[in-house]
C-alpha cells in the first residue's frame, strides 16, 4: 500500500511536542481534532445555557433567573450553538476526512488551516466573556434584530466582534476546502467518484464564501450605527430596521443549508456502508445538493412574513420555499431507496443515521407548514418555530454529527467505540429529544410565545414535561463524552476497514490513521 511509510505506521509526528504541538500544528488531522474538541466544549456551554432556560421555564413565574438574563441566555444559546458548536464541528469533520477521502496528503493551505482554527478560541472568549461585562451579554436574540441590537450595552459589541472573527475563520476554512477538493484529489479520483461527503462540503464551502461576508456587513452596519453616527437601521435617522432583517436572512437562510448539507453528506456515507449497497441515485444526490444551494438564495424572506410585505412578496417567497422541498425530498427518497432490500445491520452509526432520517423529516415537514404565509403569520415567534428549527438543527445536524463521530471514531482513535454506550446514547437522545421538542409544537399552536421567561398557566404541564425531557437530553450527551474517552483510552482494536460494508480511501489506511497519509498519491482504478 502506497498510502503510508514504515515511519508513519508508528504514528510519528515531527516537530514540537506537548502544548506547542497543538498550537503550531499544520496537520489536518490535528486541526480536525482541535475543531472537534472546541465544538464539543461550546456544545456543552450552549447546553448549560439551554438547561438554565428550561429550569426557569419548568413552572410559571420567575424562579431561577431574571428576565434580562433570560434574554441573554436565549441569545447566547443560539449564537454559541450555531457558530461555536455545529459549524466548527462540521469543519472538524472536513479537516479530518476530506484529505483521507480524496487521497490528499493534507489540506491545500496547511498554515491558513491552523490560523482558521486558532481564531476560534479568541472569538469564544469574546462571546462567553460578554456575560461578565456591564449590561451583560447580547440579548437581542441570535438574529440580533435592529433596533434592539443598536441599543444594547457593550455585550453586543463583543458579540459583533466574535461574529467577525468566526466569519473570517469560516471563510478561510471554506477556501481551504474548495481548493483541496478541486486541486488535490488523487489521480483517478474524478469528481464523479468523489464521496458524497466531499461533494456536500464543496457546495457548503461555496455557500459559506457567498454569505459570511453578508453577515459581516450586517453586523458591521450595526456597529457603525451604534458608535459612528450612521443610521442604516435607525428609523429616527432615516434608516430602516426591516432592511437589517432582509440582509440578515439573506445570510441566514443559506446558513441553514450550511448547517445541514454536510450532515446530508455524513448520512450518505453511513447508510450505504450499513445497507451494504451503493448509494441509490448518487448523481441525483449531487444535483439535488447543487439545486438546494442555488435555491437557498431565493427564499430568505419566508423568515419575515409577519414583518410585513406585499401580497406578491409573500406569495413569491411561499412558492419558492415550497419548491425547495423537492430536491430535499429527493434526498430522503434516495436514502430510503438505498436501504430498500439492502443487507441492513444496525450498529451505532447506522442507528443515528436512521434516527436522523426519521426525525429530520419531521422537521422538514414542519418547515413546509411554516412556509405557508397565512399559517406562518399565526405561528411566528411561537414555540412552533422553536420546535421546527430544533428538529432540523438537533435532529438533523447534531444527530448526523454523532452518526459521523461513531462511524469514524475507529479511524481517529484505533479503537471501536462501545456499542452498548453508543446505543444507550442514541436511544436516550432520541426519546428525550422527542419528549423535549415534540410538545413544543402543541405549545406553539396554542399561542405560547418564544423568548419569554414566564408564561400563562395553561402552558404549565407541557413546559414541565419539556424541561424534564431537556435535562434528560442534556445528561444523555455525557454518555457520548464517556464513550469517546473510553474509545480514546482503549477497547477493541479497529481494523483498517473498521466496518464491514465501509467503502472509500479512508478505510485503506490503518486505524488509527497515521499522522501523515497519502504522501504518495494512492492509485485508483
Amino acid at each position: 500500500m502506497a498510502a503510508v511509510t514504515h515511519d508513519q505506521l508508528q504514528g510519528h509526528q515531527h516537530g514540537q511536542s506537548g502544548l506547542m504541538r497543538w498550537i503550531t500544528t499544520t496537520n489536518h488531522k490535528d486541526i480536525g481534532t482541535l475543531y472537534m474538541f472546541f465544538s464539543f466544549f461550546m456544545f456543552l456551554s450552549g447546553g448549560v445555557m439551554a438547561l438554565t432556560i428550561r429550569a426557569e421555564l419548568f413552572q410559571p413565574g420567575l424562579q431561577v433567573v431574571q428576565p434580562e438574563f433570560f434574554n441573554q441566555l436565549t441569545t447566547m444559546h443560539g449564537l454559541v450553538m450555531v457558530f461555536g458548536a455545529i459549524m466548527p464541528a462540521f469543519v472538524g469533520f472536513a479537516n479530518w476526512m476530506i484529505p483521507l477521502m480524496i487521497g490528499a496528503s493534507d489540506m491545500a493551505f496547511a498554515r491558513m488551516n491552523n490560523w482558521s482554527f486558532w481564531l476560534l478560541p479568541p472569538a469564544a472568549i469574546l462571546l462567553l466573556g460578554s456575560f461578565f461585562v456591564p449590561g451583560g451579554a447580547a440579548a437581542a436574540g441570535w438574529t440580533m434584530y435592529a433596533p434592539l441590537s443598536v441599543q444594547m450595552g457593550m455585550g453586543m459589541d463583543l458579540a459583533i466582534f466574535a461574529i467577525h472573527i468566526m466569519g473570517i475563520s469560516s471563510i478561510m476554512g471554506a477556501i481551504n476546502i474548495v481548493v483541496t477538493v478541486l486541486n488535490m484529489r488523487a489521480p483517478g479520483m474524478t469528481m464523479m467518484k468523489m464521496p458524497m461527503f466531499c461533494w456536500t462540503w464543496l457546495i457548503t464551502a461555496y455557500l459559506l464564501i457567498a454569505v459570511m461576508p453578508v453577515l459581516a456587513g450586517a453586523v458591521t452596519m450595526i456597529l457603525t450605527d451604534r458608535h459612528f453616527g450612521t443610521s442604516f437601521f435607525n428609523a429616527a435617522g432615516g434608516g430602516d430596521p426591516v432592511m437589517y432583517q432582509h440582509i440578515f436572512w439573506f445570510f441566514g437562510h443559506p446558513e441553514v443549508y450550511i448547517m445541514i448539507l454536510p450532515a446530508f453528506g455524513i448520512v450518505s456515507q453511513i447508510i450505504p456502508a450499513f445497507a451494504r449497497k451503493p448509494l441509490f441515485g448518487y448523481a441525483s444526490m449531487v444535483y439535488a445538493v447543487a439545486a438546494i444551494a442555488i435555491l437557498s438564495f431565493a427564499v430568505w424572506a419566508h423568515h419575515m412574513f409577519a414583518t410585513g410585505m406585499p401580497a406578491a412578496g409573500q406569495l413569491f417567497f411561499m412558492y419558492a420555499t415550497m419548491l425547495i422541498a423537492v430536491p430535499t425530498g429527493v434526498k430522503v427518497f434516495n436514502w430510503v431507496a438505498t436501504m430498500w432490500r439492502g443487507s441492513l445491520s444496525f450498529e451505532t452509526p447506522m442507528l443515528w443515521a436512521v434516527g436522523f432520517i426519521f426525525v429530520f423529516t419531521i422537521g422538514g415537514f414542519t418547515g413546509l407548514i411554516c412556509a405557508i404565509a397565512p399559517i406562518d403569520i399565526q405561528v411566528q415567534d411561537t414555540y412552533y418555530v422553536v420546535a421546527h428549527f430544533h428538529y432540523v438543527l438537533v435532529a438533523g445536524s447534531l444527530f448526523a454529527l454523532f452518526a459521523g463521530a461513531y462511524y469514524w471514531l475507529p479511524k481517529w482513535t484505533g479503537h471501536m467505540p462501545s456499542e452498548f454506550l453508543g446505543k444507550l446514547h442514541f436511544w436516550c437522545s432520541l426519546v428525550f429529544f422527542n419528549i423535549t421538542f415534540f410538545p413544543m409544537h402543541f405549545l406553539g399552536l396554542a399561542g405560547m410565545p418564544r423568548r419569554i421567561p414566564d408564561y400563562a398557566l395553561q402552558f404549565a404541564d407541557f413546559n414541565a414535561l419539556i424541561s424534564i425531557g431537556a435535562f434528560g437530553f442534556g445528561l444523555s450527551q455525557l454518555i457520548f463524552l464517556v464513550a469517546v474517552i473510553k474509545c480514546i483510552r482503549g477497547g477493541e482494536r479497529a481494523a483498517a476497514r473498521s466496518w464491514e460494508g465501509a467503502e472509500g480511501l479512508e478505510w485503506t489506511v490503518p486505524s488509527p490513521a497515521p499522522h501523515h497519509t497519502f504522501e504518495e498519491a494512492p492509485v485508483l482504478r
Partner: protein
Amino acid sequence: MSTPTPRPHQRAGVWPTLRAVLWSFVGVRRRQAYHDDAGSLNPLAVVLAGVFVGVVFVVFIVIVVQVVLA
C-alpha cells in the same frame, strides 16, 4: 464505485449545459447522463447557466404570482 470512464475532451454545447442545470433544479438525473455531463461540461458554463436558470426561475415565480393576484 464502478463507473464508466467519461470522455474527457468532448465539450458540451449550450443545450446540454442548460439541460444538466435544469435537471439539478429537480434534483434527479440518470447515472449515465451524469457521467456524460461530468466528462463534457465546462464548469464556467455550468456556473453561468446556473445563474441564468436561477434568474429565469425567479422571473417564472414572479409571473405565476402576478397571474394569481390578477
